[in-house]
């Protein structure tokens, strides 16, 4: 009998915490939603705080997925499956996080711009930002400037995120930013932009604070800019 039978079924509940978290990293990587949901429930049953499950098991696992995507080891389909698995875990944790008053780093309003229905990148960013401790208000697809302005007025976010997949729709980001400037709102928000045809130069040219190449970069950029903002307010 082989000592390490690859077909041997792993019983998650029989693993200790460290092994279970490592196994959940693997399961996230492989996009196994049911296993992730089971792992989350086991850790909660063992007395883990929801925030700890989120950060140590789910976000830790997605960080590996994000890094391998960036390095060209994983591709969009695999990332989507991993995200779907994480979504399963998040669905269990979200109400518990709200109850336990888990810390929030900041708030983001995010949406795909007018004329554009592509939301895969935006959805990944939303999920990763939530996982990193941001409160995210997702405006969905095809957002006109009025939709963004209303949401900023209503939600008072720290960050506005805009996404576009098309060369024809990405210039609309400038329309939104120019309107914010005209209305004297631009400096009240951190503006992050992303999407396949964008680049850093475009982000600078339209007056965004940063272009984010992928969801992992969006999270790191958001954290860094929020910290810088707090520092400048403190130095104030």
């Amino acid at each position: 009998m082989a000592e390490n039978d690859p077909e041997e079924e792993i019983i998650l509940s029989e693993l200790d915490d460290t092994e279970l978290v490592e196994q959940m990293f693997d399961d996230l990587y492989d996009g196994m939603r049911e296993e992730i949901e089971e792992g989350v429930r086991i850790l909660l049953d063992r007395g883990w705080a929801p925030y700890r499950v989120l950060t140590e098991a789910l976000v830790g696992g997605m960080k590996i997925v994000g890094e391998d995507f960036r390095d060209g080891i994983l591709f969009v389909p695999e990332v989507l499956l991993a995200a779907n698995a994480m979504k399963g875990g998040m669905a269990i944790l979200k109400p518990l996080l709200a109850e336990t008053g888990a810390p929030t780093i900041g708030k983001m309003v995010i949406g795909t711009v007018k004329g554009d229905i592509h939301d895969i990148g935006k959805n990944l960013v939303s999920m990763m930002m939530e996982g990193a401790g941001f409160e995210v208000v997702d405006l969905g697809i095809n957002n006109a400037v009025e939709s963004y302005l209303e949401a900023m007025e209503r939600e008072k976010p720290d960050i506005l995120g805009m996404s576009a997949l098309l060369t024809t729709t990405m210039p609309y980001m400038k329309v939104v930013i120019d309107t914010m400037v005209a209305e004297g709102l631009r400096d009240d928000y951190i503006v992050l932009v992303g999407g396949a045809p964008l680049n850093e130069e475009f982000g600078r040219a339209i007056g965004a604070d940063a272009y984010c190449r992928d969801a992992a970069v969006a999270v790191e950029t958001a954290k860094a800019l929020i910290a810088r903002r707090h520092n400048s307010l403190a130095a104030g």
Binding site: V76, P77, L81, N84, G115, L166, T167, T168, A196, P197
Partner: protein, 234 residues
């Protein structure tokens, strides 16, 4: 190979397959006699996805002096790689030709192809992509069909290479709605009125869970651009 008196092929080895046009493009040798004393004055550098259409147009006597080479069509799966490939091709050929024209639209490069063309001093096709110039760039923009997913004849035939496999739908068909859930219909922009291609396009729409629409566009602005370039050199 049969050639016209000025050295161009009128028949000969069959055009590379769609798979070859996708992965390798079309070599210049296909339209140019290797030892021809007279070299052309205009070279078209095109996307491999346009090879058949450009060659069909080039069959007109007024366009037959245009030489053609194509880059692999699958560069479209990584649009950020298109500008570098174009630069290499232009640098390779610019010593030989008086004029080089680029048969690419923006093609998801976010304006980088236009910037490159400006730097290199060459012309390219207008508009966002081939769907637009086949349909007519202005008409396409006016339609503003954001919930339509487009396929040209080439993309209908190479659907698996450009859509199904790169999106992982061969391995994970359950992801279909994550990609296409916001789309309403698949529009087949047909360059040639061919019932087999139309049938295939309809099947792709069914696979994607989308309504199907077909428009016979012909070659649209592609022909207009080639004729303009050919005339300007006379």
């Amino acid at each position: 190979m049969t050639r016209t008196p000025d050295g161009f092929a009128t028949s000969g080895p069959s055009l590379p397959s769609d798979i070859e046009l996708t992965t390798a493009g079309l070599p210049l040798a296909w339209t140019v006699e290797p030892n021809a004393a007279e070299r052309g004055r205009i070279l078209l550098i095109a996307c491999g996805a346009l090879a058949r259409e450009v060659l069909a147009l080039r069959a007109q006597p007024s366009l037959s002096h245009l030489h053609l080479t194509c880059l692999p069509a699958n560069l479209h799966n990584h649009p950020e790689r298109i500008p570098a490939a174009v630069r290499t091709a232009v640098e390779q050929h610019r010593g030989t030709y008086a004029h080089i024209k680029l048969l690419y639209a923006d093609c998801g490069t976010g304006g980088q192809l236009a910037t490159l063309c400006e730097e290199l001093g060459i012309e390219m096709l207008p508009g966002p992509h081939c769907y637009a110039f086949f349909d007519g760039t202005e008409r396409f923009a006016a339609r503003a069909e954001m919930t339509s997913f487009y396929l040209t004849d080439f993309l209908v035939r190479q659907f698996d290479a450009f859509v199904w496999r790169p999106l992982g739908l061969d391995r994970h068909p359950e992801l279909r709605d994550a990609y296409f859930g916001n789309y309403r219909n698949l529009v087949h922009l047909a360059q040639i009125d061919d019932p087999d291609t139309a049938q295939l396009a309809k099947r792709h729409a069914e696979r994607l869970g989308l309504d199907f629409e077909r428009r016979v566009t012909g070659y649209g602005d592609l022909g207009t651009a080639m004729q303009g370039w050919a005339r300007s050199d006379r």
